[in-house]
Amino acid sequence: MNDQIKEQLSAFIDDELPREEAQLLVRRLAADPQLRAQAEKMWAVGRLMRGEYAALSASRDLRAQIMGAIDGDPTPVVEDRTTANDAEPNRWLKMLGGGAIAAAVAVLALNLLPQGTQPDGVDQLTATQTAVQAPQATVQTAEPVEYTVPRTVTDAGLVSADPELAAYFLRHSAGLPSLTPGSGRARMLSDTVSPGDPVKVIPASNPQVDDQ
């Protein structure tokens, strides 16, 4: 994904993309599964950090509703996702009407769907394809500081994936308890399901690393 698309997505999610561009982007999202997945992540992270749990709870009921929505009735899902923070829905959703809402629901649904939505044959612990760049989505919190979801490694800075290093990370994580800030076993578990390369190797001199 190039920078322009990322900026468009970010503006789209932040409800700052002009109507015409938003319409074009929605069409592109409908045709590009990878882009949809990336949009969903950026959107979901933003919602998470704003405390909008409902969209991410992935309860069985929600999954069922999403599946129903994809089959033709998106309205209940959108309503169920609405929280106090969501009282004023994004402008683009209002502007673009039902079709866009369905697309947005589909975007939301993609990574909430259980096994089967991942490409077959991808061994996530040993995958060696180029890692997907982590999104940088500006989020709103009650804190005085503006936080962003951490940008980690740029494609340019990526040297290779090194699955062997995953063993070190897992050994380290295993020594931490669940649910602490280190999230020990929770991290272990999520590392087994995250798409892309488990470990991203970057040059030691890469200044972006120091931003972590």
Binding site: L112, A142, T180, P181, D191, T192, V201, V209
Partner: protein, 345 residues
């Protein structure tokens, strides 16, 4: 946000007026949180976000009759499960039909085992009590453990007012949230049946992989004990203080198996952040680049070669901290001119 108060970490919890937090030190707060994590019974759905990825999980946890049981199920991806029963940890990866079994992983609790020293903590962190918020429908007291320098991350904690179970956690650097874990919904104090901790996956035909193969089926074999004794002797001669407040946690020196090689694992901590240092004997390969940095979720690693010793330092801390601890370990190895040698494959 309401009622933000900053105090030295050594002062503290008279600011936290709830009866559940009657302790008078940060140590006791952390210990109480650790106890709640280990001893409370709870069930719920939580979300972990890091590195641009989000994973939703269901967790069930109990500590009946002195045996901790836990079941963690990913609701995304292939539906992996991690089951803990006392000291045994099983990780089921259904898509790959793999069952990982390790009895050395489960009996860890970083909070409980950390070398928490209030005075030391106070040198490197401030504690801010930041009022209350509702998390997953429960009243939570919010704390910010703010680092005083750039060698460690900050921790935001939302702790259940009644039980002290953490309901939401954030690992933050100067600008960003590095990692967040939070309950979406949770029931605390629930009496969970045994069936809550059994797998829903038929793993009868899974390939079983057991950790610690260097010591056979029993990782507490004589071979491992000898290696541990030698490691402990080496570790005891290390200066306990490295720098920037990270201390060597001697009791956690242990032998682990990494990619089929035996490694010595040392744990450093500043009382909150934990860094693992793995030392293996590994001849340099053709593609050996000397040193490299990598990332996995919120954790980073720094790997550097010292002769035949390969040092891999991993932790949820800034990379500069990893480099600092790697240099510290390298100095100790070089000074002895008798490297800590790994076991043969």
């Amino acid at each position: 946000m309401n009622d933000v108060v900053r105090v030295p970490l050594t002062a503290l919890l008279w600011l936290v007026s709830a009866a559940a937090v009657a302790q008078s030190s940060a140590n006791e707060l952390l210990a109480s949180i650790a106890e709640a994590l280990e001893q409370a019974s709870y069930e719920g759905t939580l979300i972990r976000a890091a590195d641009g990825e989000i994973v939703t999980m269901h967790v069930a946890h109990s500590a009946a009759d002195g045996v901790v049981r836990e079941k963690l199920v990913s609701m995304d991806g292939e539906g992996s499960e991690i089951l803990r029963n006392g000291d045994e940890l099983i990780c089921l990866l259904p898509k790959r039909k793999v069952k990982l079994v390790d009895i050395s992983l489960a009996s860890s609790n970083a909070f409980a085992s950390l070398p928490v020293v209030v005075d030391e903590l106070g040198k490197f962190y401030d504690l801010e009590a930041q009022g209350t918020e509702r998390i997953a429908g429960r009243v939570a007291r919010k704390f910010f453990i703010r680092p005083r320098d750039a060698f460690r991350f900050g921790h935001r904690l939302w702790v259940d007012d009644e039980t002290l179970l953490p309901l939401r956690m954030q690992l933050v650097n100067r600008r960003n949230i590095v990692e967040e874990t939070r309950f979406v919904e949770v029931t605390i104090g629930v009496d969970l049946p045994a069936s809550a901790f059994t797998s829903d996956i038929d793993s009868s035909e899974f390939r079983v992989i057991r950790a610690a193969p260097d010591s056979g089926d029993d990782p507490r074999s004589a071979q491992l004990q000898l290696a541990n004794q030698r490691d402990s002797a080496n570790v005891e001669s290390w200066p306990p203080e490295s720098s920037r407040g990270f201390r060597l946690h001697t009791t956690q020196s242990q032998r682990v198996t990494i990619n089929g090689r035996s490694a010595q694992k040392l744990v450093f901590s500043d009382g909150i952040a934990t860094v693992s240092v793995f030392i293996t004997t590994q001849p340099a390969g053709e593609d050996d680049v000397g040193s490299k940095v990598s990332r996995m979720g919120a954790a980073s690693s720094y790997q550097v070669r010292i002769g035949e010793q390969l040092l891999t330092v991993v932790g949820e801390v800034p990379v500069e901290t990893l480099k600092m601890l790697a240099e510290h370990a390298a100095k100790q190895i070089s000074a002895r001119q008798q490297p800590v040698r790994g076991e043969p494959d």
